[in-house]
Symmetry: C2
Subunit: 326 residues, 2 copies
């Protein structure tokens, strides 16, 4: 029954068609059955008249991230390794509001948040308000695997990083001219910037990872949904893995990631229906979106904003990236 | 149908009998129909041979907290005002690990976390890692009502407090000899100390509030479940309000408060069954417990630790406090 379901569902279409899909390398060699991957690089108001060179840069980065995750999963790697690697890659790419390229706070600094969750064990790790760690997602994984805790913040999280041998970087390492100009103009043209990845591996285990620099011009130690397990990040082998991007406060109030998983687990909704029920039914238009993968390999890429940088791939040869809706 | 359900359910017994209940003032004058209240002062290993004078001090404080909440609700006050007032009262009582009486961190300081949620609107506010605010639960309410945000941490949250006119207190104001001795001995005899309150008001609206000093000897800016909406604190008029206490990491991994609400909303479980399904079915023995009130006035006080300081009252005249199980 479950095998039949998996076979049937893996072939399902994603709920929001990827109109600008790039279907290259559709079937890599030696693909094992059953893996699936989805990622995002943030949702929000993404101007359709964006410089074509910038559009191509985003596409190239999304494509590279998707290839990176596919490479790990297709070889039988774990979903946890895949989501961490993909999010690290986006953290290192200054195009996205996470790691290098993080937006500026009110004080002209950078405060980074990240979370990772293992759907097989519900183990998870979160960090919030860190400013001296190059890859917050890997620090979140250290919190999960090398501490008894789940959630470390601010100076304490940085002391933990040092105790774990994570080198300190100067906060100005996250500076970029583009984000500085946005901050100066308070343009907020991609204020929902976040990166995230969800994966199902060939062992049937789910994982989710999300990382962000938060809101442009944020102050007062504001933390959004990303490090709040159940809001921006959630994975549970009983249902699905979810990574969100958008107006963080709305995603916390609506416990969005956990709610999608609850609708899958307790109401037996198909993943896409669950995602739409929450994004379209509970949030306000423009709030943002999410990517999700279910235990049966369904993929959902759902948003109610103008666009969402996103991609999806699976063992059946799917390999698609997109930015805007239809 | 809903009216019938409310009438039927209000008469239900609580899932864990309050064996040491104090049934005084069973029916206050001019009680309006439909309100209900539950509170806790932490769960964990509470020695049964505790000094009888200390036991009586805890009982007196629980009784006072319950009277305070009852007074507000019975007069038609809001659930939000009731849960804030009750939690403030416990924060000011050095018996409990919240506000005055908070445990010591590894560095010999106090780092306080709190959250509040309005079930009618899903508005919520959280603070984590604050050390200079006498009543963190009221700062959480300011975050909810006076900022666009939901979650503020550490120095930023304190700057917000100052901007809101909340006076600064010296961190040593939270010092108490008893907690200092526990820290020195690393006794951890009530390491799950937290206070919380949930309420249904006569308008049919739910609210939840939770506040804590966290783990004795904590370090690295460790944050537990209390300020994580959906983990330690949650309220939603569609289902119930929940406040948790226990091994915070376990409550985050299992999104305990949101999961109880999801089982009520999506599986239509009675509140007590939902609470037991999560506390007994998903956590480890000894992890802790929760108090919850449903939209129909059901009350659940469920824990899998040796004891939980707790109390419950409702418009039907119920007024009970307890510490241990049967």
């Amino acid at each position: 029954m479950r095998t039949w379901l998996r076979v049937a569902v893996v072939t399902l279409c994603v709920c929001i068609p990827l109109t600008t899909a790039t279907a290259q390398n559709p079937t890599p060699d030696a693909v094992r059955p059953g893996w699936a991957l989805a990622l995002h690089g943030g949702a929000g108001t993404i101007p359709k008249d964006m410089d074509p060179k910038l559009v191509e840069a985003y596409r190239a980065s999304l494509r590279h991230g998707l290839e990176l995750g596919r490479g790990i999963l297709a070889k039988g790697g774990t979903s946890l390794d895949a989501v961490e690697a993909v999010v690290r890659f986006f953290e290192d790419d200054s195009l996205f509001n996470a790691g290098k390229g993080a937006v500026y706070t009110h004080e002209g600094t950078h405060e980074l948040d990240a979370a990772i969750m293992n759907g097989a064990t519900l183990a998870c790790g979160s960090v919030a308000g860190v400013g001296t760690v190059r890859n917050p997602i890997s620090l979140a994984r250290l919190v999960m695997e090398k501490s008894k805790h789940v959630f470390l913040i601010a100076a304490g999280a940085e002391a933990f990083a040092r105790a774990q041998g994570v080198p300190a970087v100067d906060n100005h390492e996250f500076d970029t001219r583009r984000r500085w100009e946005q901050w100066q103009k308070a343009l907020h043209d991609d204020k929902f910037g976040t990166v995230g990845c969800v994966a199902l591996d060939t062992q049937g285990h789910l994982a989710a990872a999300t990382s962000t620099g938060g809101l442009t011009n944020k102050r007062w130690g504001r933390v959004g949904d990303v490090p709040v397990i159940g809001a921006g990040t959630y994975a549970n082998d009983r249902s699905c893995a979810v990574s969100c991007t958008g107006q963080g406060e709305q995603f916390i109030r609506n416990t969005v990631a956990r709610d999608v998983a609850a609708l899958v687990e307790y109401r037996s909704l198909p993943l896409a229906d669950a995602a739409h029920a929450v994004i379209d039914g509970k949030l306000q238009p423009g709030d943002g979106g999410l990517v999700a993968v279910s235990k049966t390999g369904e993929i959902a890429l759902v948003f109610n904003s103008e666009g969402m940088y996103r991609g999806a791939a699976d063992a059946g040869g799917r390999f698609e990236i997109a930015i805007w809706g239809e």
